[in-house]
Amino acid sequence: MEPTVAIEDLRIEYRSRDLGEASKVAVNGLNLVVGRGEVFGFLGPNGAGKTSTMNVLLGFVPPSSGTARIFGVDVREPIARQRIGYLPEQTYYYKFLTAEELLRLYAGIFHIPVAEREARVGAVLKLVELEHARNRQIKTYSKGMQQRVGLAQALINNPDLLILDEPTSGLDPLGRMKVREIIQRLKNEGKTVFFSSHELGEVETVCDRVAILHQGHLKAEGRVTDLVAQHAANLEQVFLKLVGYASQS
């Protein structure tokens, strides 16, 4: 069976704008496989290359070398994105649209038949608890509500793979819990979730497997329980050790 996400020997370089400056290698030699139905935590400190990897998966940035496939299709093909839902790191949506209009727009892009469209829009709005505000323009939303609109749009096409870039950053504890709940629910529905984070607590509770990235290199990969057992420490200590932070204890 095809893995949902397969990354081979991925290298991402950013060409610098200024002349004479060396180009910046964001990710180097990354190999990663995410199987169907897994919740996969993509960990790493700021600047590790998590967002860059996701940008390649979504076709925003071409890889310098290596390949990335989703459902067995090269990520350069737009069709690869038909069954994906994506929540960017931080995003503002078209402020002058209402949540309902925004979701209808995206539903249209996924060619969801008109008959089904309203039902889907209603369902995702209910899931993220925005039904009361569905007819208000997004510019009147609070930050937490905007984040939930983001989640709603990621779910509009009932995707088989969700790519979430730090879905809980900037949310209050209640908001985080809700996001965790949603991830859990999606997992129960058999979806694959690939999400990045540096919040280790939440990762531990929802992830099947994790990968730890540091300065563009993969430092560790495996089941949370295996990693913890292997290093004889909790996930946080493992993480700190792998990213080169000497523990005081």
């Binding site: 071409p62 994105r81 503002y92 402020k95 727009l105 892009i109």
Partner: protein
Amino acid sequence: MNTIWALAKVVVLEMVRRKDFYVLFILTVLLTGTAGSVNLFNDRSIVRYLKEICLLLIWLSGLVIAITCTARQIPAEREQRTIFPLLAKPVTRGQFLLGKFLGCWLATGLALAVFYLFFGLISATREQHWPVLNYLQAAWLHWMMLGVVVAFTLLGSIVFAAPSSNGTICFVVSVGILLLGRHLNKVALDLAQPWQSLLYGVYFVIPHLELFDVRDLIIHNWELIRWEMVALATLYAAAYAAFFLFGAWWVFRRRPLN
């Protein structure tokens, strides 16, 4: 096509919900109204100067609407990061550009329709006749011309980083062509050799926006333009718009987004 249409609708909605258009329209109405209320030699039936002023305001507003609306599209998408959730969906970059083009062009068309309706009303109240077909031709040609402007502004918004500088450049270029485009060949003939061929080349390469400016014909109640000529002009505009859109796609197609 559905995708392009869905994207275009967002642009049109944006224009409808922003204030720019209303400000320009009200300004046009007010200026035309005051110009019309001036007493000139106690003669209330003088109308052409009023048509001239109204059309001038419409042309300026049309350019401003088309250019500002188009110039901000892609920079705003990137700045507000709305392009990421969008292109994470099965949307090609070509569809994205076409959607933006169509949206901006339709939005300007909508604005033009309102403006020309007002123009028709103004001239009808004074002249007591309503040459609908002539106005239709003028508005149509105007809209086609703005299609070219929208296309090259879209290209500019990808090539130049800052939206304000792109807007200014596009505005200056459009006005420059409108005023001088017709005369470049004659200026060229007066120049010494390498420059003559160069300027003549420029003359043939630029999109002749001024062809579409038929204000003089409707101010002075000339006959209809031959329809086959209108069709040819439409093709001419379509060719240039397609060329600029292709250029925009060529530049944008592999550009990393971040």
